[in-house]
């Protein structure tokens, strides 16, 4: 992992009141609170630390839902992880900094039920079918089970 990259990430982490952990030779993880996410991402993008967002992953962490941003620059991978409560899953959107993030946020909205404040397409479904019942919880939560979803979507033929 290049020293310069590591140092710059460390600086951003300190500004966001967190610290970076080196997972492997070329991978760093930074845990950031929701209130500092935009500031951190903005610094990473605008200062040129990384100019490519690979994707955004959603995770079910029990009581919380994790949102991990994956950045990539040369051989360096940077993971930025933040969490939101399952009981009130609202997160901040980064589409005004990185327009390309819009689809990834829509996907997490569909599959985990997280509402991204600032994303203009939160009322649209990206992946789930039109026949998805409103009261059915998002599919990728650990509590959602495939057989139940299939029954509700009428995919099981008796």
């Amino acid at each position: 992992m290049s020293e310069v990259f590591l140092r710059r990430v460390e600086e951003c982490a300190v500004d966001a009141k967190s610290k970076s952990t080196q997972l492997r030779e070329n991978e760093t993880l930074v845990e950031v609170e929701q209130e500092y996410v935009k500031q951190f991402v903005s610094k990473v993008w605008n200062d040129g630390i990384s100019r490519h967002l690979s994707t955004i992953t959603g995770l079910d962490l029990g009581e919380k839902i994790g949102i991990v941003y994956h950045f990539w620059q040369n051989q360096n991978l940077l993971h930025v992880r933040t969490t939101v409560q399952k009981t009130s899953p609202t997160a901040v959107s980064i589409v005004d900094i990185i327009p390309g993030a819009i689809l990834y946020e829509m996907e997490i909205h569909d599959l985990f039920g997280v509402m991204f404040v600032g994303n203009p397409w939160m009322d649209k479904k990206l992946l789930l079918p039109e026949t998805w019942p409103d009261d059915l919880p998002p599919p990728l939560l650990k509590t959602s089970k495939s057989p139940e979803i299939r029954k509700r979507l009428k995919l099981e033929v008796e």
């Binding site: 490519h52 994707t55 990185i98 327009p99 689809l103 996907e107 990206l126 992946l127």
Partner: protein, 410 residues
């Protein structure tokens, strides 16, 4: 789907009017686990497209959820079937993400074999795409010739792996089958033939009237837009951005086999055609080199069915761009979370941006230019804001309209 049957779609039309045309409206029909059937709604002002609304989810099957209840090895073959055209790279990327969590290392011979199959896949995918571009532009002969050449690649792949499409060559920490004996000369000869054919097709696209008219100055984007939209693969390289996982973060045997990145600056569909054909030529060289320098040794390391806890992500360069896999294990027989992000999803915002300002006749060419899976353009709906007319066309009707439009234009 017809307009009248779905009340949600009416709301979409109404909502569309609220968005101004300056807004970047990236959205896409491609789901990370799958591609194909999409439904586009194009908003027109006269002949020009001002907005595009796609509806995807037609191929959403729920792979990521299913992966959480299947063993590690089974998942590899399930993720392979995410896409028929770049299936090997999916299983490769998943395998690489999981391998890092174990203490075992992939043998060198396996890395070389992985490179050979991955590059063969790239050749077949690019040939498929060039043929389709010919088909959409009305140049059927090109389509037939290119797909006939593609059969050469598929024959080699079948001899090595046993299947033409879903090769199932990967295993966790290795490959399942070895290279057959005495195939070296045959492969090198066929690679040389394919490289010559690629140069010939290159000439055709540079000189043939039909192709030039449909592809020059069509689908233009700037490097700045592409970077902001985080496009990957050829979509980034055709405006000059050096985004290639094989160069920036080499995996498998890419750090040992000589490789040169191909970028172009035209920023239009013709540039994409040239780029993919040039990449094909580079791939044929790589396959020939790898086959001649294949190291000896085992092809696989057997590992226990339980993967230690941890999380890891891996990316690879598929024919369409960067594939990204993230894997999380809690030390069990099944993964805790697998996330796969296909390249077409990353390219979709850029594709929709490319469509703006084009005419209806250019739509099939522009949409195919990003190289999505080709069953996708099966239905399109149009809304003309001046006359308030709405109509629906199938992909084939659109293709024939495009051919007729350019023929009449002269």
């Amino acid at each position: 789907m017809s307009e009248s049957s779905n009340p949600t779609r009416r709301e979409e039309t109404a909502g569309l009017m609220k968005y101004s045309t300056e807004n970047l409206v990236p959205f896409g029909p491609i789901h990370p686990a799958l591609k194909e059937p999409e439904y586009f709604k194009l908003v027109l002002e006269g002949e020009k497209i001002v907005d595009v609304i796609p509806r995807i989810g037609y191929v959403h099957r729920g792979l990521e959820k299913a992966a959480e209840s299947r063993p590690w090895v089974q998942n590899m073959y399930m993720f392979e079937r995410t896409c028929g055209i770049c299936s090997f790279v999916h299983s490769l990327c998943y395998g690489q993400a999981v391998e890092e969590l174990t203490i075992y290392k992939v043998p060198k011979r396996a890395k070389y074999i992985r490179l050979i199959i991955a590059e063969l896949e790239r050749i077949h995918s690019h040939l498929l795409w060039v043929g389709l571009m010919g088909h959409w532009a009305g140049f059927e002969t090109l389509f037939m010739w290119v797909w006939r050449d593609r059969e050469i690649v598929l024959d080699i792949v079948e001899t090595i792996s046993g299947n033409r499409v879903h090769k199932s060559m990967n295993a966790i920490c290795g490959v399942r089958r070895d290279m057959p004996e005495n195939m070296e000369d045959h492969i090198v000869e066929k690679m040389k033939y394919l490289a010559d054919r690629a140069r010939y097709y290159r000439e055709i696209i540079d000189t043939e009237e039909t192709m030039l008219e449909r592809t020059q100055k069509v689908g233009k984007l700037t490097a700045d837009t592409v970077e902001k939209l985080c496009a990957v693969g050829p979509m980034a390289r055709y405006v000059g951005i050096q985004n290639d996982v094989r160069l920036n973060a080499p995996y498998a045997a890419y750090d040992e086999v000589p490789f040169s990145i191909v970028t172009r600056n035209e920023g239009d569909v013709q540039g994409l055609l040239r780029l993919r054909l040039d990449e094909m030529i580079v791939s044929t060289d790589m396959v020939s080199y790898a086959v001649k320098h294949l190291p000896d040794g085992p092809i696989r390391v057997k590992i226990p069915p339980i993967i230690p806890a941890g999380e890891h992500s891996s990316h690879c360069e598929a024919p369409r761009g960067e594939i990204f896999y993230y894997v999380k294990s809690t030390g069990g027989r099944t993964p805790d979370r697998v996330k796969s992000r296909q390249p077409t999803m990353a390219n979709l915002p850029a594709a929709l941006e490319m469509l703006k300002g084009q005419t209806i006749a250019d739509v099939p060419i522009v949409l195919t230019a990003i190289d999505p899976c080709f069953g996708c353009m099966d239905r399109m709906s149009f809304l003309d804001t001046e006359t308030n007319k709405q109509w629906t066309w199938s992909g084939e009707q659109l293709r024939q309209y495009g051919i007729k439009y350019y023929k009449d234009r002269g």
